[in-house]
Symmetry: D2
Subunit: 380 residues, 4 copies
């Protein structure tokens, strides 16, 4: 008979967008059972949220420290403590929460960004390495089958040598300048979000996606942040130039004031032999254009690569989307936790360090009027 | 604390595509708990399938008649018998299975087509009406938010008077002429699939979608079936002309030998004031073109209509797909079963009768060399 | 030094759309010099039109019969009479005008449809054959490089055996029901347009395009006309089913009341090996999808076929359009008149007969309530 | 009777791409008669080219200086000397040729870039201002109706205040690293092309398009050039960041090694109220997305603005392309030369100075490792 992993959650109380997504993702493939949570630091809200998602009252905690301790105890006592925890709090809490659960021997699935400083990310990376536990960072877009396929095509040498990277992530939900309210409000608050606004919210998705597909990072970047929204404390726009070790060049821009954009994450990679293009809003498609040849519309269902095939559930032409991509991360994580092999790469705390280093470099370049900053030379 | 509906399933054993989709759809919004099943008529396969999906051995049945009886008994005895059953067997069994569960007072979610004859569908419609139970027919595509929105726009008079309907559903999975094997093989067997091949498999999806969105059916149709695949017993292509009561005209074609097509269901509706276009492979988008004006790309997240808003889970630009559309049917069904109102229309056994009548009319027109056949005059 | 063909024009006076297009098409490649014309039967308008387009007053005629005679005399006398005439009058005059110029040994470029009856078209076809003159029918869309390429791919066997043809031509300029006024007004008048409205105006473009690309015509058709516009005397919508000799099937529809459509002529052809798709509004692109493979976006500039290459003027990515397609017909005609070979097929009076036969068959099927009508058995 | 302007041409001999385009553009609307030319500095090639395009032998020159002198004399003597000259030589000759013809009182239509240095461009701008002659710079893409419309919408305040500019121009014809041969070969030779490769060939088109539509230029830019092609002397890739006076930000990149790109010039402009997007490869379309609303697909034929309407020839849905856009520049020029008003803005020597200043700034920023360079402070 099927056995499911016991899942806990920190953060993700009533009204929280990303917590609900994590839960749907965990349910889709039926590999997890949500049994414990510290959904809010407010005891009442925590209890209400728990009831709503089917967590028994005795496994609902108002304090994630207590949750880590008690669930750890239950594990050691063979009483069914959680196997894995999903961390979906505001950014500034990630480091402490992750540390607490790793210390109890509990696997971690953490929302991005890993932490708000490079130093913290490096420390967690170190901890993760020594723990032997599965430590996943949910860079959603790497759960799409066609992103997995793009990475595989690059690995197989299909695009030849890398020449150009063009990646962008544009949204418009900050375009009207109003303060965010409700659940997402912490994203405008440096104390909770960290020093990066749009840069940390979506910019690092763009950076991670480019790195995931190309298999490499730039050596140097030159960047500028900007804040359009009056009274806003964090950046809402970032533009970056990139230089790669082999001479390749690139541009990245991310904006949350890009009027008329919903969730427009687009990656284009140009090699000596072919071009790849992926647009998040149409995720079942990957465009491959060999030099001198016709553009080919590769689709999820017609792809023969293993990496893509195993990241899908239904046949060609039956659209899969964001939740399915997210569910793929949970499926991969379940397989790793259960000691199975996975095909393709699941983003982890190395990606967390990579993201933090990128943020650090952009902040530094911005402060020095767009000078080139070496990524390698950045210490924590 | 959350309580979930107790769900049973008939059909959908190992390797069955549509059974797995129903289960994912039921899980996504966490409103159901799958507790019983007759997943196969082969006892061994039924047990294996049950174990795989987490049904306890004592609730796994090899005979759906026994399942209906025993679960009905448990309900009456207050012992937690199922509230609702999903029927995902080959077509020829739908009528008997549905009848058995309705007789036990159990709600029904049945895959399309409802039955293989108009007479059977009419009988079930009658039964459903008198049962007072929730009887859902899973016409997946009506679960898409933008299909709901299209229907709402037509109802609001936005397109004016209906003039033209162009609907098509093209796939290529029978294009190579081979016999289907494995789970889908029954679709080529008249004894299991009924007298309609492509017509019954995808043609009625096209017909139902057009009727769902426009809110009306043609008065008369003229049609032709064709079989390209050598040795195939059922049609693999159908083309139909339609005349509506108000003088509107239409064309429908469906094919499973349309080389190069994945799951290309497209509906275009032209009224005196505006045109609507929906393409299933890009379901988050609905195109609205007012006469003389610019085409407008309406998207799931930017639509203000209630019917669409409540049929979605995540923000604009984060793609939803086929599983989410299917899940919407389950969500609507749960609300109806729990006595809640739903916004928008959920397809039910009336759609089943409509589909059977359409199939009957097409078969009749085809037999008489494409004569016009009146839909109203078709008795069971 | 370059010498240009001497061109005359009948019809195409002030405000006439298609006359102006013919003149731009003739100019683009600089192979013609417009030296004579009977632009209108109204002497004043004829003279004004002639002055506007640079025809000397002594070569401007109010009567095309006189023009044919005098230009013929000049030819025979070696005084520079026209080599070729463009016929751009309302449909009902085509037959007489063409006959008059052929009788004088003058080549003809005639706008479609060739005539308003099958009998007249057959007679002109006969005349053309015996004349030894170049007789072109300007089916514009066959001048597009990617239409030429599509035809070449079919000829080369790339799509395998033909299975399905789906062709449509939708416009909305009659959608609002008003009577046409000004130059285009004759299109609503049976006395000038002939018995076919939308069928003759755009329906035959769709039919001709399908036949041009596939290289074959259906054996039988079943059709229905409809008139939506109140008070309109001719059809504004037509839908047709088609049966081909090899068992292939097809649907054609054309409409000038298709709200929100500009000039949406789309052809899709499905063979046993591949699918082709061409959309007139994006004419530099041809989609080729091999069975089981990725859709390929073939573009004008990346096509290696001769038929397409010689039908283009500028590099890939620099869009060509309708005027260039039209100019291609004039370029081909010039080459034929000058005794050169052309690559690819130029539409001629055989296409005229084909179009007239199609119109006749549709009218006949419509009158007999959509019965199947054999195209071969239609005599003039 | 119609009278046409007398046109001469310098450059554009046999095999030259851009010369042929200028001639087609001049012919399309029949406002010019090509009567003189110095198509090549090689006397034999000049004569051959002239014969091919219908220039009488006595008006074919091997030396453009002589042509300027003799045609100027003919003008003054009332002997039908040319009214206007098209300059389509390699870049390094533009300045001298333009100067010579302006000195003779002859209007000038010059291909871009105006000259190879800012100093030369400023000098020509000055000369143009004092000459009272029409001086056009053929920035083709500003001849597209939908570019004219985009500019008009910005002028009308439709997008609100400018926030972001994203413009790119990618081609792949240098991607394979080979030396260009034949007519285009001079583009790789600094002596003929000037100090800018891709930057001067297509980068300034991107810059000019952005400036044309937004009506403003950045204050500062930071840029980097790169050369991928081995042995190439000039840049084949450029990336630029831009800062505008009002705080707006932007990115520009241009590449001729962007594998798989034909002529992909795309402009996106985001204001506080709306976004505009134009893609050169589909020039009949302009996308307008108001903040919070649906994207609207504006098309050439459905646009009500005067600026677009007068820049088109045929109805909606009948594609126009690159040659038509180029012809619009010639049509506008003819109107100006004949003393008529034009609607919308025709690019002129001010655009030439703007382009040269941009090139100068990029070169300077590149030499100083991507420092910010003020455009205003650049002297000639």
């Amino acid at each position: 008979m099927r056995s499911r992993l016991k899942l806990g959650m920190v953060g993700g109380g009533k009204g929280a967008f990303i917590g609900a997504v994590h839960r749907m993702a965990a349910r889709l493939d039926d590999r997890y059972e949500l049994v414990a949570g510290a959904l809010s630091s407010d005891a009442m809200r925590a209890a209400e949220g728990a009831a709503e998602v089917g967590i028994a009252p005795e496994r609902s905690y108002a304090d994630w420290r207590e949750m880590a301790r008690r669930e750890g105890d239950m594990r050691r006592a063979g009483l069914g403590g959680i196997d894995v925890v999903s961390v979906v709090t505001p950014n500034h809490l990630h480091a402490s929460v992750v540390r607490a659960f790793l210390a109890e021997g509990i696997h971690v699935i953490c929302d991005k960004p890993l932490t708000t400083t490079l130093a913290d990310s490096l420390a967690l990376q170190e901890l993760a390495r020594h723990s032997g536990l599965v430590c996943v960072l949910t860079h959603t877009y790497t759960g799409y089958p066609m992103v997995r396929h793009a990475r595989a095509l690059v690995e197989q040498g299909l695009i030849g040598e890398l020449r150009l990277v063009q990646v962008e992530y544009s949204q418009d939900w900050w375009a009207e300048g109003q303060a965010l309210t409700g659940e997402g409000g912490w994203r405008e608050d440096p104390a909770q979000a960290g020093p990066a606004g749009t840069l940390g919210d979506v910019g690092i998705h763009a950076y991670q996606l480019a790195s995931y597909v190309t298999g490499c990072e730039p050596e140097e970047i030159a960047a500028e942040l900007h804040t359009f929204g009056p009274g806003r404390q964090l950046d809402d726009h970032v533009q970056v130039m990139m230089r790669y070790a082999n001479g390749a060049r690139g541009t990245l821009w991310a904006s949350q004031v890009a009027t008329g954009c919903e969730n427009a994450l687009t990656l284009r990679v140009y090699g000596t032999k072919a071009q790849l293009r992926f647009e998040q809003e149409q995720p079942d498609v990957l465009w491959l254009t060999p030099q001198g040849g016709a553009a080919q519309r590769l689709t999820r269902g017609r792809v023969s690569g293993e990496a893509a095939q195993q990241a899908t559930r239904i046949p060609a032409g039956h659209p899969e989307g964001y939740i399915e991509a997210f569910a793929q991360l949970y499926r991969d994580a379940a397989n790793l936790i259960e000691g199975r092999q996975i095909i393709g790469r699941l983003s982890d705390f190395d990606d967390g360090v990579m993201g933090s280093r990128f943020i650090e470099a952009v902040l530094q370049s911005h402060r020095s009027n767009t000078s080139w900053v070496s990524l390698e030379q950045l210490s924590g």
